[in-house]
């Protein structure tokens, strides 16, 4: 519907804008790829983007809050590592299985979760995150407890062995872009509109014949799938995992990135994870003051852009559109 309203000129204009953006980003990325360290940061940006997109589908579009996404992240990471090490399954397949296992847990959690709203749901997801964390730390035979899993094999795809951060980046970036495009298409499909309807008013949605429970469960599963996949990427990139990386803190990191970038927007997760991942690294120079400065930075940005960074971009775009609209139509 919205797209029909746009004039041809606007679409061209938007495309120009987009192409310019892509060129700038590509140039910076190419520059960063010269080094291992900036490439590592780029890899993390992609991984976080995928995970945060997962959270966005659940929280941004369906309105179901989750403070336990580190749980899915952990499930993805551990499943893929264990499968590839103990059973010797090729890494590509283990990653896919890991994402599916995470999706399965998404289903399981979604069944009670779809009945709950707001703080009940917050609590359920907090409980889930904590339970996964504790499970990882006590099942020593499976997860090697707090000592963690070392020497997780690298990805091997069609004879090409991913070893450098650069090579991983291309894969992760491709997946992240696919995920972003996929999300956009999904949201503009019947499925996506149903999700938004569920978020806006579940009773009205049910009245319109939308199976609210079905959509809530599907959103959960899809979200878990993406976050689990990101977890699997993380494990094979780093080569070492231990429960330390999957506590509440990680869930809060995802939540911060999502809200910072802006919920329910096409590029919110990308913007949020990019800026915050980079800012975290920049702050390293401030040693002991870094976390304080990081928090103040978030707060300041929040005050300048109360609906996340992408909220401002949407605002600018709509204002430009409005101004143009005024020129075309003298008086409405």
């Amino acid at each position: 519907m919205e797209q029909n309203k746009k004039s041809a000129g606007q679409i061209i204009n938007e495309k120009k804008f987009l192409i310019l953006e892509i060129i700038i980003v590509a140039l910076i990325t190419a520059y960063m790829l010269r080094g291992t360290y900036p490439s590592l940061i780029l890899c993390f940006i992609c991984i976080n983007t995928i995970a945060v997109t997962g959270l966005d589908i659940l929280f941004g579009y369906t309105g179901q809050v989750s403070f336990g996404h580190a749980g899915f992240y952990a499930i993805g990471a551990y499943t893929s590592s264990i499968l590839s090490i103990k059973l010797g399954i090729p890494v590509v397949i283990s990653m896919i299985i890991a994402a599916l296992v995470s999706m399965f847990f998404g289903f399981v959690i979604a069944i009670p979760a779809s009945k709950l709203v707001k703080h009940f749901l917050s609590l359920l997801t907090i409980a889930f995150g904590n339970m996964v964390y504790i499970f990882l730390s006590v099942t020593k035979d499976l997860t090697n407890g707090f000592s963690g899993i070392l020497n997780i094999p690298n990805l091997n795809l069609f004879g090409f062995r991913f070893k450098s951060n650069q090579s991983y980046f291309f894969l992760f970036a491709a997946v992240a872009i696919l995920v972003l495009i996929g999300k956009k298409r999904l949201i503009h499909s019947r499925f996506g509109r149903a999700l938004i309807a569920v978020r806006e008013n579940p009773h009205a949605a049910a009245g319109m014949g939308i199976n609210v429970k079905y959509y809530k469960v599907m959103a959960f599963a899809l979200s878990a799938l993406l976050t689990g996949l990101a977890g699997a990427f993380y494990a094979h990139l780093i080569g070492f995992i231990s429960p330390d990386g999957f506590n509440n803190n990680q869930s809060n990191v995802f939540m911060t990135m999502l809200l910072f970038g802006g919920i329910a927007s096409s590029f919110g997760p990308l913007i949020g994870s990019t800026i915050l991942t980079i800012v975290t690294e920049v702050m390293q120079g401030f040693v002991r003051y870094q976390m304080l400065l990081y928090a103040i930075f978030i707060l300041l940005v929040l005050f300048c852009m109360p609906n996340g960074v992408s909220g401002v971009i949407a605002n600018i775009k709509s204002r430009i559109a409005k101004r143009k609209g005024k020129k075309v139509e003298p008086r409405a």
């Binding site: 939540m255 929040l302 609906n307």
Partner: protein, 289 residues
């Protein structure tokens, strides 16, 4: 052993309960969720130790001063940050981000001000232990319990007997109607946040001597208090207390009679089951949508 366990569970339970009331108050008054409650407890403990140990003030004055400062801090967060954000057109979910950063700021500024080591809160009472039912108990533990109960009773009286308390409840029920009746709704909201952080700060001061004071002391307490409050019936004062004590008992008894390795796993598992069976909490609280 059982008596000791019960006293221990009651103590930690009342801590959860008092912090949990704060979540409920904030939610009732503004429909929002603050993730900084646990860190309010930590900050209160640091303030308390500063007044009591370093400025050598009597304990009760240190406690009251802390409560006043914490009240103002809570009020400040609501009036200056939360309301401004909402006035600027932020969706309510962005308040989560705001409180996440506030909690990080509180933690890290405490670390930079008071250092990262555990500060020892000097003993408040002269005697090392008191006998109850033939079991020796540290008086500080009883103080936590006592302060918890006093806070609950005082808050209940405040909300039901004073004019301002009644107007706060009215504002929580129906904002528009309340403001039509001349109730200063923004003030009641600010007061609710203020009271929430004041309660957390006060209980922080009294647990200081029991746990020691350090920057991450509030993180888990905040989360468990939230869990207790939700299970009890979010927004209901008694629910928060019952829920908190329930959680305290669950935690203590699971680790004493079952296994502590799986303690949080079992506790949270039971909470999930309780929520599935009673999706509205023990006190059947209606949810605002």
């Amino acid at each position: 052993m059982v008596i000791r366990l019960i006293i221990g569970a009651l103590m930690i339970g009342s801590v959860y309960g008092v912090v949990g009331i704060g979540y409920g108050l904030i939610y009732k008054a503004s429909g929002l969720m603050s993730l900084a409650q646990g860190d309010m407890l930590m900050f209160g403990a640091f303030l308390g130790i500063t007044f009591y140990k370093y400025l050598q003030l009597p304990f009760i004055i240190a406690l009251l001063l802390t409560m006043i400062i914490m009240f103002m801090l809570g009020m400040f967060i609501e009036r200056v940050m939360v309301t401004k954000l909402i006035e600027k057109g932020a969706q309510t979910v962005y308040i989560i981000l705001c409180t996440i950063s506030i909690s990080m700021i509180l933690q890290n500024s405490s670390m930079l001000t008071w250092g990262s080591n555990v500060l020892q809160f000097p003993a408040i009472f002269n005697s090392a232990s008191v006998k109850i039912f033939g079991v020796s108990v540290a008086p500080e533990n009883l103080l936590v319990l006592g302060v918890g109960i006093i806070i609950m009773v005082a808050l209940q009286l405040f909300l039901t007997k004073t004019k301002f308390g009644i107007s706060m409840r009215a504002a929580a029920q129906d904002e528009v109607a309340a403001s039509a009746l001349g109730i200063n709704v923004p003030l009641t909201k600010g007061t609710a946040w203020g009271i929430a952080s004041m309660l957390a700060g006060a209980i922080g001061v009294v647990v200081g001597p029991v746990f020691g004071v350090y920057m991450s002391m509030g993180a888990m307490i905040g989360q468990k208090a939230f869990a207790g409050a939700v299970v009890g019936g979010y927004g209901n004062m008694f629910g928060a207390i019952i829920g908190g004590v329930f959680f305290g008992f669950l935690e203590t008894f699971v680790s004493a009679y079952l296994t502590s390795n799986y303690k949080d796993f079992i506790t949270f598992g039971i909470l999930i089951i309780v929520m599935i069976l009673m999706p509205k909490g023990i006190f059947n609280e209606e949810v605002m949508e």
